[in-house]
């Protein structure tokens, strides 16, 4: 009798504590994700959401044999991810080295470098659109430096680097904060000991600091990889995939297939390939950097 009552109250507690979150999660994330596997093999459109027609491998075959634009987007996103991850982390790392020195303006600088991060990608993209189109021209006219006179958003190559610049500007400050926290927690006696042993600044960095902040490097590489591979807002507002489709990311391509072309089935199939791409890339990256972590 007693144990029955305990079981009942346990059950009620489980429901009260876990239930609401679980329901929201299942409804909004899990169910759509699982449904995605089914819709991948259907012809389905936004006008008639209740009716999906099973078409087997048709969408998959179409994507793999007859969708250059998607593979272009895939290739663009991969290149972008590599460039954005490398530049952002190098920049963030250098800034954090700088801001762990005894600078008077340290707090002010930290605020400035972090500031772009609080503004959303969509607004940032519009702000930079103006800068690339009008602002750079004004600087170019005043200084005659060729860099500013380029048609930044007008050619595939410069548009690519344009997005990289804005991405780095937006995310470097965030990563910098993580690197700073890690660098501050490197034990001082270890650094002193290395100095007494005659380690120079470069050796100190390479053999003491970097190995000890490896967990922070793992996190920053993970965050930048997954954010750049999933880039959407910035892409939409800064270049809208242009010129032509030269800078269209996978996320934007999936969005357009579904909500602009109204081919939900095909869009879902692409979205699933996108998911496997993201999973593969981020898991591999974390696996590689985790192996390099050491205990302090």
């Amino acid at each position: 009798m007693m144990s029955k009552k305990i079981k009942w109250t346990e059950w009620v507690q489980q429901t009260v504590f876990v239930g609401p979150g679980l329901i929201a999660f299942i409804l909004i994330v899990l169910a759509p994700f699982v449904m995605g596997f089914y819709y991948t093999f259907t012809e389905w459109n936004g006008m008639d959401l209740g009716n999906a027609k099973w078409t087997g491998m048709k969408n998959i075959i179409k994507i793999f044999t007859d969708d250059e634009r998607f593979w272009h987007a895939f290739w663009f996103t991969t290149k972008f991810t590599v460039a954005a991850v490398v530049v952002t982390n190098v920049m963030a790392f250098l800034l954090s080295l700088l801001l762990t020195r005894n600078l008077k303006s340290r707090n002010f600088l930290r605020t400035v470098f972090f500031l772009p991060n609080v503004i959303g990608g969509l607004l940032l993209g519009y702000i930079w659109y103006f800068i690339f189109v009008r602002g750079f021209r004004a600087i170019g006219e005043a200084t005659n430096i060729g860099f500013f006179n380029l048609q930044w958003l007008g050619t595939p190559n410069t548009a690519f680097w344009g997005i990289v610049i804005v991405f780095v500007w937006q995310t470097a400050g965030y990563m910098m904060i993580i690197y700073i926290a890690a660098m501050i927690s490197v034990p001082k006696d270890l650094i002193e000991a290395a100095k007494i042993d005659g380690a120079g600044a470069w050796q100190l960095l390479r053999s003491v600091t970097v190995p000890l902040i490896m967990p922070a490097i793992t996190i920053c590489l993970f965050l930048t990889t997954s954010n750049s591979f999933k880039m959407f807002d910035l892409n939409l507002s800064l270049t809208a995939g242009g010129p032509g489709n030269a800078t269209e990311s996978i996320a934007l391509n999936v969005y357009r297939e579904g909500l602009v072309n109204n081919r939900y089935g095909l869009g879902t199939a692409k979205a699933m390939i996108f998911f496997f791409g993201v999973a593969l890339i981020t898991v591999t990256q974390v696996w590689i950097t985790k192996k390099k972590e050491v205990e302090a």
Partner: protein, 277 residues
């Protein structure tokens, strides 16, 4: 790393480099602000110059054009209600998962963490089916439920890491005194979670306030948020730079104020939130 150095010429040089880089970082804001005061012809003439006069004319027109008070209120309502509910729901869930690690709860924890890797675009289209089936579209509660679903993984994960380090003894004493499990959580445990609650609030505010795609999919014109209003505005008046710059300035002000006031917490919160990863 080295706090007690003397102020050497090298440090001075580093300081100057730092300030120079900071000025480069700030130039986009310079362009944004000066051009939101200028008349269109002056923007076209020279976008880098300072404004001739500091009139608020552009701001007045932009205020009306994007209906700033309404969209601000919509953004505010959606963000604050979603974040409040996320805090309640995710802290309760995390508490239960830490204190009752049953097979089901352990599995649930794994699934929630694994789900963080799923990109939004991968669930977006089937989600349209769900939101129309359950009539979540076009309502405040609909988008709030969506944010709870997408936000629960990270928030729960952050609380989970924190609650593991909360000692059990305090709770046991309260149970002896006849406190109900809900009382134990809300009166004793939850106040101890304050540092991580701040982190959860900040990360979710920055995300939801700036989010663009989810609102596009699940709300109608009656709930237009700031990013949506700006996007729509740009679609209509692409070359009206004077209005556009004023609208962008207006739209970035609230989140910048939020940041400047809570800077210290935000930076600490980001650090705490990332180390758990």
């Amino acid at each position: 790393m080295e706090n007690r150095q003397r102020y050497t010429p090298l440090i001075l040089l580093l300081e100057l480099i730092g300030v120079a880089v900071a000025l480069i970082f700030l130039t986009p804001f310079y362009f944004l602000i000066v051009n939101s005061f200028k008349e269109l012809k002056y923007i076209l003439l020279n976008a880098a110059s300072l404004p001739e006069k500091l009139g608020l004319d552009n701001f007045k027109r932009a205020w009306v054009a994007i209906d700033f008070p309404t969209v601000f209120l919509n953004s505010f309502l959606i963000t604050s209600i979603s974040v409040l509910l996320l805090v309640i729901v995710s802290s309760m869930m995390a508490y239960r998962l830490v204190r009752r690690p049953t097979t089901f709860n352990k599995l649930l924890l794994t699934v929630l963490i694994a789900a963080m890797i799923i990109p939004f675009q991968s669930v977006m289209l089937p989600l349209m089916r769900i939101t129309s089936l359950f009539e979540l579209r076009g309502h405040l509660y609909g988008i709030v439920i969506c944010y709870m679903g997408f936000g629960i993984s990270l928030s729960m994960f952050l609380y989970h890491g924190f609650i593991k380090s909360v000692p059990l003894e305090v709770e046991e004493a309260a149970v002896m005194d006849g406190c109900s499990p809900y009382g134990v959580f809300w009166r004793i445990v939850f106040p101890l979670l304050k540092p991580i609650t701040v982190t959860v609030i900040i990360l979710n505010v920055l995300w939801i306030w700036n989010d663009y795609l989810l609102p596009v999919l699940v709300i109608n014109d009656n709930l237009t948020t700031i990013p949506l209003a700006v996007q729509k505005f740009f679609g209509q008046y692409l070359r009206k730079w004077d209005l556009a710059m004023a609208a962008l300035t207006l739209s970035t002000i609230p989140i910048i104020i939020f940041f400047l006031f809570l800077q210290k917490h935000i930076i600490e919160g980001i650090t705490a939130g990332s180390v758990k990863g």
